[in-house]
Symmetry: C2
Amino acid sequence: MNYPNKSSRENITISHKNRGMSLEEDINLTNEYYLINDIAVVYKKPTPIQVTKVTFRNKIKVITEGYFKTPSTTDYNGLYKGNYIDFEAKETKNKTSFPLSNIHAHQIKHIENVINHNGIAFIIIRFTELNTTYLLRGTDLINYIKNEKRNSIPLSYIVEVGFIINENYQPRLDYINIVDKLIKEWIYE
Amino acid sequence: MNYPNKSSRENITISHKNRGMSLEEDINLTNEYYLINDIAVVYKKPTPIQVTKVTFRNKIKVITEGYFKTPSTTDYNGLYKGNYIDFEAKETKNKTSFPLSNIHAHQIKHIENVINHNGIAFIIIRFTELNTTYLLRGTDLINYIKNEKRNSIPLSYIVEVGFIINENYQPRLDYINIVDKLIKEWIYE
């Protein structure tokens, strides 16, 4: 959410060598890399907060009461080669499946809306215990939910229809080359 | 930011008859109309807030200290007929020009990025005292800023190169038909 400036980014770059960055941090750094290198314009949306009380301290507006709201949409959206892209990113400690309780019903609906309006929707899932991150097409996510009664997506399904996202030094999680494949599929389908 | 449910929306619909809704409220209702009628998928981004203290009251997470941050991008973005659209919305009480101090430098940069990556960027400006709302292309905004030394855009320029957005009962501010024109320009340019 808070895009680091150049000097703080360099610090973060060094800390890449250590494991333990969250998926969100990795994606934010990746998006920052894409932005700086003029590859794509993708941002994380701020967390929606309902502000109920504010006051002024030394002429600065301070929130003294607020509540976290459930997001209406996915966390990330943006623009790549003239295409609208939209995705959610989730981590799970589970080793064999991705629990669907991780995604809200209105996020599923939003992904469907994006697909219906010819945007490119997907979900990035990190299995933290397996140290592996996948990209799953929005269409494959929706198909699974509509056709299966299970409340989790087996890793085997994700391996079969999804894509592994390579982790590198820079960009950290290079998902945009997979988006390239999705765009080609979409053009030639 | 907070999308009303069906029943509360009906209440809001009734209150349309009264003047005095903010531009943000008008655009949110318009976007809701576009979403429900499957015309476009456009959302306002939540206001970015830096949360510095939280506590739990009756098992609910409550923010007890937080600060408003300067947004990195524009307020609205989304998807229309497969096109990425992105815009900022601003009101001014000024009757003859739009003060550029209303737009942050990084918002200008963001609009440039969107244009360079083949997205459709614009700004919606409401002159509250004139009861008139205009859509100005991102390219025309950038051109003005780059070529003129003034710190405000004269209304005459906006009238000349921009588009009046009609105000209706529903949708409240029908900006999408102007976006259609921008898409056609962009295809045939």
